[in-house]
């Protein structure tokens, strides 16, 4: 096997001559970060109330949240993405669908990937929030209500602040999963990291350099998130609680 390593390939110009292949990789990194962050925020915003609903004493509300989780967890992410990208624009009112299909392709790819990844991850956040609240024991809720707090207040001031601290480690791995899952957006053509890896293979015929670089970038993102979540975990720790963990 004669493979000619050429790490300088990243500095050579792309066919159009405008930028270098390194710049392509950085563009990919930007889209991966943008998609992951936006989806993660969406997942927290939607998953937290759903996780609360999972635990409230109302059959309809908790059933609704359970159905949401069942749907989004039992269909492959790739299928969900294709449904957002190909199916939903056909099923929404025609005006909206036509408008969407006439927008910039990059915009379409990003919106579909964002909705898909955000709502998919929300189902997983829902389950984590539920587990966190359930791990607190009934006493906390009872104490909150006995103090004269309403049920929403009990959640806001007693249950959720503790639950979130407890589920910080699993939430960290969900965030890492979100970054990894964002690579699925390559299938609809979004120019995130793994798409750029494939582009570089096609354009430069230096597949190993391209794949190694992209793999290292994913590892770096992973490390960065773990670092920040560790800092957050230390900052938010309740003194004297969970020392044994």
């Amino acid at each position: 096997m004669h493979y000619h390593w050429n790490w300088l390939v990243f500095l050579s110009r792309v066919p159009s001559g405008e930028t270098t292949y390194l710049a392509w990789l950085l563009v990919g990194l930007q889209w991966t970060v943008a998609l992951s962050l936006l989806s993660w925020i969406t997942a927290l915003v939607i998953g937290t109330p759903l996780g609360v609903l999972r635990t409230v004493p109302n059959r309809w509300l908790s059933g609704f949240a359970a159905a949401y989780v069942a749907i989004f967890r039992n269909i492959p992410l790739l299928v969900q993405l294709f449904i957002w990208y190909f199916v939903v624009p056909e099923l929404v009112p025609r005006n909206l669908g036509d408008w969407f299909k006439q927008t910039n392709p990059l915009f379409q790819e990003f919106i579909a990937s964002w909705l898909c990844l955000g709502l998919f991850t929300a189902a997983r956040v829902t389950e984590q929030v539920r587990a966190g609240i359930n791990s607190l024991g009934r006493g906390q809720q009872g104490a909150g209500l006995a103090m004269g707090l309403t049920l929403p207040q009990t959640y806001r001031y007693v249950l959720l602040p503790m639950a979130f601290r407890i589920i910080l480690p699993p939430l960290t791995s969900e965030f890492l999963n979100t970054i990894k899952n964002s690579a699925v957006a390559t299938t609809v053509g979004l120019v995130e990291l793994s798409r750029q890896a494939q582009q570089l293979v096609d354009y430069t015929a230096q597949p190993y350099e391209a794949f190694i670089a992209v793999t290292l970038l994913y590892l770096a993102l992973n490390g960065l998130v773990m670092f920040f979540m560790h800092v957050l975990e230390r900052r938010t720790r309740v003194p004297g609680y969970m020392v044994s963990r």
């Binding site: 096997m1 492959p76 992410l77 299928v79 899952n181 793999t215």
Partner: protein
């Protein structure tokens, strides 16, 4: 409003069934190879030989930090070249082979974490008792520790396998015609992508919901 037309699905069922076989082939190969290789990795990781434990940890952490899409692409790059340098001749369709290798090695990393936790959940006294009656390391592991560990982790292994089953759709990135890929192609061919994608989603939903339900019942019975 969109007008649904499901008529292209019945005629496409033979193709879809063929795709489903590929999906199942990847799933079950990855489950079997993944659990065997994952067990070896877990045992290596818990072994007292530092270098072995470090290598196993490196393997597991590396695979768990990279997107599955990248892993599939990596193996699609490596496997054909490896096969060529090993066997010389060209192999007809390397996509399936490289997908099988990629999923098996990738899943092993995830299984090994479950198995490691399972091994650690077996009380230390069990292994000590086995050593005390004169068993060797292999016997202790195979006859005493692993059987108990596996009983504890069956639900988790099954849940992970359901995730794996869903993830196999990602072979789309190397153009392999699994169940999803076939559905997508038929939809494209007939201009019925909406119906085919919804159909594929429904099939996955039914299979995964039913399997999750079974796992849940199993868990309740074990508890």
């Amino acid at each position: 409003m969109y007008e649904f037309d499901w008529s292209s699905i019945p005629g496409a069922l033979p193709y879809l069934a063929h795709g489903a076989i590929i999906t199942l082939e990847i799933t079950f190969t990855a489950i079997i190879v993944g659990i065997v290789w994952g067990t070896l990795l877990a045992v290596a990781r818990l072994s007292s030989i530092t270098i072995l434990a470090r290598l196993a940890a490196l393997y597991v952490n590396l695979f768990r930090s990279i997107p599955l899409v990248m892993v599939i692409l990596w193996f699609f790059l490596i496997v054909p070249q490896a096969i060529q340098s090993l066997f010389g001749g060209a192999i007809q369709d390397i996509r399936l082979t490289s997908a099988l290798v990629a999923f098996s090695l990738f899943q092993a990393a995830y299984y090994s974490e479950i198995i490691r936790a399972g091994i650690q959940s077996v009380p230390k006294g069990q292994a000590e008792a086995a050593y005390a009656v004169g068993m060797r390391y292999r016997q202790v592991m195979l006859l005493v520790v692993l059987p108990q560990a596996f009983r504890n982790m069956v639900p988790l292994l099954l849940t992970q396998s359901i995730i794996l089953f869903q993830d196999t759709a990602l072979v789309y990135v190397i153009g392999l015609g699994d169940f999803f890929g076939t559905a997508q192609r038929v939809g494209e061919r007939d201009g019925r992508i909406v119906e085919l994608l919804l159909f594929a989603g429904a099939v996955y939903f039914v299979i995964c919901s039913a399997s999750s339900y079974v796992v849940k019942r199993l868990q309740e019975r074990a508890a």
